[in-house]
Structures are given as structure tokens and as C-alpha cells.
């Protein structure tokens, strides 16, 4: 995702005169190509996220299109007030891009984990929250964000994630993308867990359960039409994210559900727990620690499916 982001920035630099890239002293050599083409429109803002975010807002107020980039954990919680006030309260089109979603940087320790960002940012009025599922979605999300009249947060994984989309899908902010069709259970994945959800669907298929997979790249605004359809069509809906299930996509869907009459499908939320991870270990280890594996996602979906599949479908008006 990271390298695709850098490549796409160079492409977009030619399309948008006002595009400015602000980096928080990371991405050594990553932006060489962009910098060669647009030396005046790159700023290394140093290790000073509050100033970087405020500056970006000031630039946007003056008509530029700033894209702010640094490590996920630091571009969200470190300068939350600047995002809240300078960017969202003033409602200016800043694109905030964090790299290292969830447990992507697990090996670097808890300081670099980012499992709360969706939760805190989706509370902010005016802000759109996008978690692309693969590199193709990164490219499409960035492009769409620069045409969006308002602030956007884009949550990147790291580099080298598997590409899920073989061809570019239609991408609209706020509309989930069906990655795989199914008719018994539905896996709603956001962000870098998409390949895990796809694997889980394959596992379910081997066990005779037909699973749909949706990339819910936009957590805010939530695709309510898709949710309404999913909770009606399927016996089970499982949200999958590398983020705390409370507050994240799972929390969003649970809130949506709470405001409605009982639905056919039941909800299971897969995410990280209410705890910090204090152990060493890479992303795979950290995912296993929190049970975020395709086997676990499949098992959860099966359990829920077995509980609800026999229930008679009732229609509520």
C-alpha cells in the first residue's frame, strides 16, 4: 500500500496544481520521484505532528490541497486536536494519510500500534474515514479524496500486502465493494484485513458455507444501504478489522444495528481487544495474539451461522 501511495502521489501531482505533500520525517527515499517532479510542493515537516497538521489546514484554507503523511499512530492520536479543530471544525480539504494501520508495525512495539484511530476519528464531524483493503483501493481512495470537498483520513497498511482486486473496481467513497459473492454469511472487512477475510471465505466454502466478502473501505460515512441489505440477506454478519472492535467498524455497525428493529442476521465483531500488546513479535504474531486469523474469522462465522440459520426469517416494517 505504501509504495502505491507514493507512486500515485507523483501521478496526482501533475493533475492537481495545488497538491502539496507534507511528511513527518518518514519515508526516506520513498518520495524521491515526487520530489524530483515537484520540489516546491514537498515539505519535510520534521517530527512535529501538531505543527504539520495545523500548517496543512492553513494551506487548505488558502486553496492548496495538502496531503499529510506519517506513521498512523502519530498522525492521529498525537495531533488529534489539530485534526479536530484546524481540519474538521474549519472543514477544510486536508487528506490525512497514516501508514502502519493496526498491527502493521507490531514489531516496533506498542508505541507504533494503531488500534484506536478509527474509533476516535470517526467521531469527528465532517471527516471521512477510509481504510483501503489493498493497493488498488489505496490508489482509488487517494484519487477520490482529492476530489472530495472536505477532510479525509486514509489508513494505510504497510508495504507488500497482497493485491485482492485483480482489476480496478468501481470506487465510491461511502460505498462498500463486494469482493466475493456468497449467500449465507457476510464478512465485512475494513482495511488491511481484506486478504484475511478472503481466505476465511475460502475456508468457509471448504466447510460448505457460502460467504460473501465486502471491502468496507469507508467506515465513515457508513454504507447503510449495504448494511440493510446484508442484515436482511444473510444469517450472520462478521466485521473484520485490525483495530479495536469496539469503536471501529464493528462498533459502527453495532451502533447502526442498535437503532433498528431486530434483524435477520446476527453480528459478530472481530478486532483487537481492550488491551495493549506488550510482547515482541511481528504482525502475524500480533494478529494471532488477538485471534485475527482467517481460521478464527471462519470459525466465528460458522458458529453464528449455526445459531441463526435455522431461525425463521421475520420481516419488520
Amino acid at each position: 500500500m505504501r509504495n502505491t501511495f507514493a507512486r500515485e502521489m507523483t501521478v496526482l501531482g501533475s493533475e492537481h496544481d495545488g497538491l502539496v505533500l507534507l511528511s513527518g520525517d518518514i519515508g526516506n527515499r520513498l518520495f524521491d520521484d515526487y520530489k524530483r517532479h515537484f520540489p516546491m510542493r514537498f515539505l519535510n515537516c520534521g517530527v512535529a505532528e501538531a505543527n504539520m497538521m495545523g500548517m496543512a489546514a492553513g494551506m487548505a484554507q488558502s486553496g492548496l490541497r495538502p496531503v499529510v503523511y506519517t506513521i498512523n499512530a502519530f498522525i492521529t492520536t498525537r495531533c488529534f486536536e489539530q485534526i479536530r479543530l484546524d481540519v474538521c471544525y474549519q472543514n477544510v480539504p486536508v487528506v490525512i494519510v497514516g501508514v502502519g494501520a493496526g498491527l502493521s508495525y507490531a514489531a516496533l512495539g506498542g508505541t507504533h500500534h494503531s488500534c484506536e484511530d478509527i474509533g476516535i476519528l470517526r467521531l469527528l464531524p465532517n471527516l471521512t474515514v477510509i481504510c483501503p483493503g489493498d493497493a488498488t483501493e489505496v490508489q482509488l481512495a487517494l484519487r477520490a479524496s482529492l476530489h472530495h470537498d472536505g477532510p479525509v483520513y486514509i489508513r494505510l497498511g504497510k508495504k507488500g500486502e497482497p493485491r485482492v482486486h485483480k482489476t480496478p473496481p468501481e470506487f465510491t467513497i461511502g460505498k462498500g465493494i463486494r469482493v466475493r459473492a456468497g449467500d449465507e454469511v457476510c464478512l465485512l472487512s475494513t482495511g488491511n484485513m481484506l486478504p484475511v477475510a478472503v481466505d476465511a471465505a475460502a475456508e468457509l466454502e471448504r466447510r460448505g458455507i457460502s460467504a460473501e466478502v465486502v471491502s468496507m473501505h469507508t467506515v465513515k460515512p457508513l454504507d447503510e444501504d449495504l448494511l440493510a441489505e446484508s442484515f436482511w440477506r444473510f444469517s450472520a454478519v462478521v466485521t473484520v478489522e485490525e483495530h479495536a472492535a469496539r469503536g471501529g467498524l464493528g462498533g459502527s455497525v453495532a451502533e447502526w444495528l442498535a437503532d433498528r428493529p431486530p434483524q435477520r442476521a446476527r453480528l459478530c465483531r472481530m478486532g483487537t481487544g481492550d488491551m495493549f500488546l506488550h510482547q515482541a513479535g511481528g504482525q502475524d504474531y500480533a494478529r494471532r495474539y488477538f485471534g485475527l486469523t482467517s481460521a478464527n474469522v471462519a470459525a466465528s462465522a460458522m458458529r453464528l451461522h449455526s445459531l441463526t440459520a435455522g431461525r425463521r426469517h421475520r420481516v419488520f416494517v
Binding site: V20, M40, R41, L43, C45, G46, A48, A50, N51, M52, M53, G54, M55, A56, A57, G58, M59, A60, Q61, S62, G63, L64, P66, E81, Q82, L85, D86, Y89, Q90, N91
Partner: protein, 297 residues
């Protein structure tokens, strides 16, 4: 005037023509002082009527705002959104009444609108909200936000070649915030010499002497050490304010910091340097006393 014409003027060294130009070609200091008195009276009224705090903080920066809006900034009330306009960000947003009154009297909106200050449903809240009035350049109120915003605007001005200047008015208490010093480190590295930090140095913050809360002194030396072209002036000397604020860029290639020594509650003797007036609102008798002292009625 197009941006191109402006460029030519800048190249020729001709500065912005002030509204209140005296006979000798300099600023009409008498007229500026009269305007400052009028605004002070209005602030006292506004605080009294609304029962709101921060009157003393507003009074301390009135001369800075009068100098800026009437004799320094290249602005036009007819075109508040002109991309090439000079910007002023009141980063100490708690002095909102000072900003509202200055903009209204400068012609950006009717002074009658000031009567709606802090009234439920009105646009003019106790801290300026985004776009609440023409020429309010930023939503402020949480401290430490204005200078980074101003930096972004100054960077945009360079990229867009508009040559405008960006003035940010901060309080000394605000200089407790780390983000101020992040911005202070950043601006000189990029030689943003059209960015100006004006520090309304009234020596108080909400609940104590600013020097006792955080070791601010020596403030001018701090800004100079950070790479700014630092000046120290009397923040109630309109002539000095106009001279120093006009000389931007000053040829040093550095951003400009103006440490403006002020008195909290300036202009009303019984409020001056009394920090109780950070929170108090004047009663009717105190309004009368203040007006007498200001020579208003």
C-alpha cells in the same frame, strides 16, 4: 487590483496605503488612538451586556489590532476573500470581542452586529468559530493553533506568488503550548519572511503571572535564538507598532517576531494589571466609569 499589479508595487517598495494616513505621510496616530479608545469602550459594553470573561485580555491587544487593521494590513472590506489579502489570525481567540469590534469598525460588517455577541443563536460566540464573520481568518480558542495555521497560509502565499503577509497575534500564556514552538522551529528553516508572530506580552495568564507559571523570559531572545527576526516594543505605542509591523519582510530573510509589551486591561485604570479581570465582567457603574476614563459617552 490584480496580483500582478500588487507585485509591481511590492517591487517598487511602495507599502500598503493606510486608511488613516496623517498629513506628513505617516500614520495618523491621533486617529488611531481615538479608534483604540472607541473600541475599548465597545469591548467594555460587550462584556457587560453579555456577562462574558476575557475583557482584560481583549483590552491588552486592542492597540495591536488597531495598528494592524488600520495602518498595516493590505485588506479591503469590499473584498474580504481576495486571495492576495494580508491575513491576521487572532490566535488568542479568547480576545474575540477585540477581533469582532475591530473588524466591524474597519467596515467588514455592521457595528450593529456586535450587539448580537454571545446571544444564543448568533454567529459571534465567545471564541471565533469558522467563517463566523468576514475576515475572521481562523477558528481559534484552543491556544497554540494560530501559528501553524499562519505558517500554512504563508507557505501557500509563497507557492501561489501572492506576496501577502500573515500576522498571527498570540498571548504570552499561549507560548506555554508546544505547538507554538514547533512552528517557531519550522518557519525559519523555510525562510518564511512574510510570517509575523505578534506576542501580546501582558505578563499574565488565566490564573497567574506568566513568568511564574512557565519560564518565558527572556522572550525576545528565545524567538531570536529560534531564528526569528525578533523585535521588542511597547505594545501600546501605536507608532512603534505600525513601524515594526509594516517592516515585513524586513530583509533578513527571517520570519518576524514582535514581542509587544502590554498591560492586561489596558485603558481602564481599575482593570489594568489586575488579573481578576481575566474572568470578571463589568457592572453598569463600572461601564460608566470606564467610559468616562476613555473620554467616551
Amino acid at each position: 487590483m490584480t496580483t500582478g499589479e500588487r507585485d509591481v508595487r511590492q517591487v517598487l517598495g511602495e507599502r500598503v496605503r493606510p486608511l488613516l494616513e496623517g498629513a506628513a505621510g505617516g500614520p495618523d496616530l491621533e486617529a488611531l488612538a481615538a479608534m483604540a479608545r472607541q473600541l475599548r469602550g465597545r469591548l467594555v459594553q460587550m462584556s457587560h451586556k453579555a456577562g462574558t470573561a476575557h475583557l482584560a485580555s481583549s483590552l491588552s491587544c486592542i492597540d495591536i489590532l488597531v495598528a494592524a487593521y488600520w495602518a498595516v494590513l493590505d485588506i479591503d472590506p469590499e473584498r474580504p476573500a481576495d486571495p492576495a489579502r494580508d491575513r491576521l489570525i487572532l490566535s488568542k481567540g479568547h480576545a474575540a470581542t477585540a477581533l469582532y469590534a475591530a473588524l466591524a469598525y474597519r467596515g467588514f460588517f455592521s457595528t450593529d452586529i456586535l450587539d448580537s455577541y454571545a446571544v444564543a443563536g448568533s454567529a459571534l460566540a465567545e471564541h471565533p468559530s469558522p467563517g463566523c464573520a468576514p475576515s475572521v481568518e481562523a477558528a481559534t480558542g484552543s491556544l497554540g493553533h494560530g501559528l501553524p495555521l499562519g505558517l500554512g497560509m504563508a507557505f501557500a502565499a509563497r507557492l501561489q506568488r501572492t506576496l501577502n503577509r500573515v500576522y498571527v497575534v498570540l498571548s504570552d500564556g499561549e507560548c506555554n503550548e508546544g505547538s507554538v514552538w514547533e512552528a517557531a522551529l519550522f518557519a525559519p528553516a523555510h525562510a518564511l519572511d512574510r510570517l509575523v508572530a505578534v506576542i501580546d506580552y501582558n505578563k499574565w495568564q488565566a490564573t497567574g503571572r506568566s513568568e511564574e507559571v512557565m519560564a518565558l523570559r527572556p522572550l525576545k531572545e528565545k524567538w531570536a535564538a529560534f531564528g526569528w527576526s525578533a523585535h521588542e516594543i511597547d505594545g501600546h505605542d501605536l507608532g512603534a507598532l505600525v513601524r515594526t509591523m509594516r517592516k515585513v519582510p524586513d530583509g533578513s530573510g527571517k520570519p518576524v517576531a514582535i514581542i509587544a509589551h502590554t498591560v492586561k486591561g489596558k485603558g481602564i485604570s481599575f482593570m489594568e494589571d489586575d488579573n481578576d479581570w481575566h474572568y470578571r465582567a463589568p457592572d453598569a457603574d463600572q461601564v460608566v466609569a470606564a467610559f468616562e476614563e476613555l473620554g467616551l459617552r
